[in-house]
Symmetry: C2
Subunit: 355 residues, 2 copies
DNA sequence: TTGTAGGCGTTATCAC
DNA sequence: GTGATAACGCCTACAA
């Protein structure tokens, strides 16, 4: 293996200047002569010299690296999130180190050691939990640039950039009701590992109860965010289908599973029952029927997360939690105005609220 | 910000030993007393000390980091690939630095500078092209641990771990014929940026011609690997549908687009026409109809890529290109034996080969 | 505006 | 088996 590149000293010697001069030229320091700087840059470009980021980081304790922690769980949103984070980071001249961590906490410490050593500048956590070693340090009062993203954070000394899941849950319910769907059920992701499923489930329940439904009459099936949950709910929902006009699912994947499951039982979506999802993953528009769902502002989340971390790093300032807006996208699986088409004999009597 | 951790010197002082002793204990060097080593490890664990990877890498020119270069293009396989690579790397105690590069070559040099400086040990390239700065160095005769993955490599001084796309293309054709489908067309991804589309297209053509079809009678629509290509092909294929029993698509996404497109024109898959995809992305089994396709051995690719790089790094040995096997998965969109059900009047007269 | 010197936290080489 | 010492390649007071 031949990996001997020039060092600053080589460039300096060749140009008859000192290492400092080269260093200053390359880091466009203000205290450097325009002419010498030009000479140095020219030479550097000519021989393909690049500053050794390792040595530089060791000295300055700034590596221009961002850590990103994602859960190993299958989720179609993470790839998108990663890409937007990378793009934003790249624009600010940061690179990404990635770790897929087991799920809740216990992450690979090797990754975080980069941060503690100064190689990495901050960490974006998409798992909902601060890894143990970070939590310990924060508890000790140390401060590290970190942010939760796409999930409500587990601690409030770290900002969190996430969808307003509760608000979105209520809005889907409200919107479906406005479109004429009267009796609405849910297949939730509340049994999964994240708090998001609970938020969406609670939002649904409270919106329905405020709307006049009886808490104990609500049709709810609980599971994780995965496809299998929807599939497993098929009989439960099919049996309740004469009491329902629409079903809100905790995720798009659940919705896919439910729609396919119902189809296998002869229940057609949206003809017999409308189904709405959550997230607007790439496939939602290509599924058949295309999915009515809530769009997550992934792009915005990625950009904001990076911006906040970089702000914390470079200005040493602190940053606040951010709750992002959402958008309900009406498609075929629960078409706008679709509830009006419900045959009269299926029209629903909403139970009066009990105390 | 409070980020002062202990250094080796601190541990050493506290234990009344030298830095060397601490270093040796922590890197389980053979030349160290069992007792002292135990003391050091205990102390290190007690105070939560971890070796500074930056300083270590600067000295040893080994950072235990692997670069991964992925294209920014949407492709449902990359997330899976990344995860398997990360898992394999993690088991060998490497971490991942990721760069989404624009597409063909021009990548972010910052990323590769980590490798050139010794921080990163090798690079896994999933874009099909060696980035410029790497190519230059290789041309100069330097050697860097690198491997192409999931795509035939652009240079043969770097190993490539990929599916036998040509073989797989022929096998899909052969398999469909064996299942009774007589007249087969293709919607290819050959106009896309990678060579893979071409390989699959050529395989199809040659298999068909050897099978007795006339080259100029073959029904082929060319596009990229994306959903839109399938959708755009819908009218072309629908018009030719009375001359076809099945269509092979260059990717699963194309197949989804085609199936949806045909449905919009009243052509039902597989009743009127069978459709097969390529890749077996996660969604292939959940689509309706579920997709007959060729499974890429993503897991195997990820593991093999990491194993090869690590081998190159640690044993300084060289490694050879690897062509992986595949598997045709028969599902609803082109069911096994489905070709037999073709009504007799649609049976096909295969043109004799012309010279 | 430029040069000199010292150190960032490790590991490797050499003694003992 | 253990300890002193010199790099690794860069940045940054401080001095000129």
């Amino acid at each position: 293996m031949n990996r001997k590149s020039d060092r600053m000293a080589d460039i300096a010697r060749r140009l008859g200047v000192s290492k400092s001069t080269v260093s200053r030229s390359l880091s466009d320091s203000p205290e450097i002569g325009k002419a010498t700087k030009a000479r140095v840059l020219a030479e550097a470009r000519a021989v393909g010299y690049a500053v050794n980021p390792l040595a530089s980081a060791l000295k300055t304790r700034r590596g221009r690296i961002l850590l990103v922690l994602v859960p190993r769980i299958e989720n179609f949103l993470f790839p998108m999130l990663l890409r937007t984070i990378e793009r934003a980071a790249s624009e600010m001249e940061y690179t990404l180190m990635i770790g897929y961590v087991a799920g809740d906490s216990r992450t690979d410490d090797r990754l975080l050691d980069f941060m503690y050593s100064g190689a990495a500048d901050g960490v974006i956590i998409a798992t909902g939990f601060a890894p143990d070693t970070l939590a310990e340090r924060l508890d000790r009062g140390e401060m590290w640039p970190a942010a939760f993203v796409m999930t409500p954070g587990a601690r409030n000394d770290i900002p969190s950039i996430a969808l307003d899941d509760y608000g979105a849950g209520r809005e889907v319910y409200r919107r479906l009701r406005a479109e004429g769907y009267k009796r609405i059920g849910m297949v939730s992701g509340a049994s999964g590992p994240t708090a998001v499923g609970q938020l969406r489930r609670n939002a649904f329940i409270e919106a329905a109860v405020e709307d006049g439904a009886a808490r104990e009459d609500l049709v709810i099936f609980d599971g994780s965010f995965r496809y299998e949950t929807g599939w497993n709910a098929r009989e439960f929902i099919a049996k309740a289908s004469d009491r329902l006009d629409a079903v809100i699912c905790g995720s798009d994947e659940i919705a896919f599973g439910l729609i396919n499951g119902l189809r296998s039982l002869g229940v057609s979506v949206p003809r017999d029952l409308a189904v709405a999802g959550f997230d607007d993953i790439l496939f939602a528009r290509h599924f058949s029927p295309s999915l009515t769902t809530v769009r997550q502002p992934i792009e915005e989340m990625g950009r904001l997360a990076v911006a906040k971390i970089v702000e914390m790093v470079e200005r040493k300032s602190w940053s606040a939690t951010e709750m992002l807006g959402f958008e309900v996208v009406m498609r075929e699986s629960a078409p706008a105005g679709g509830g009006e088409a419900t045959p009269p004999e299926r029209s629903h009597k909403i139970s009066a609220p009990r105390r």
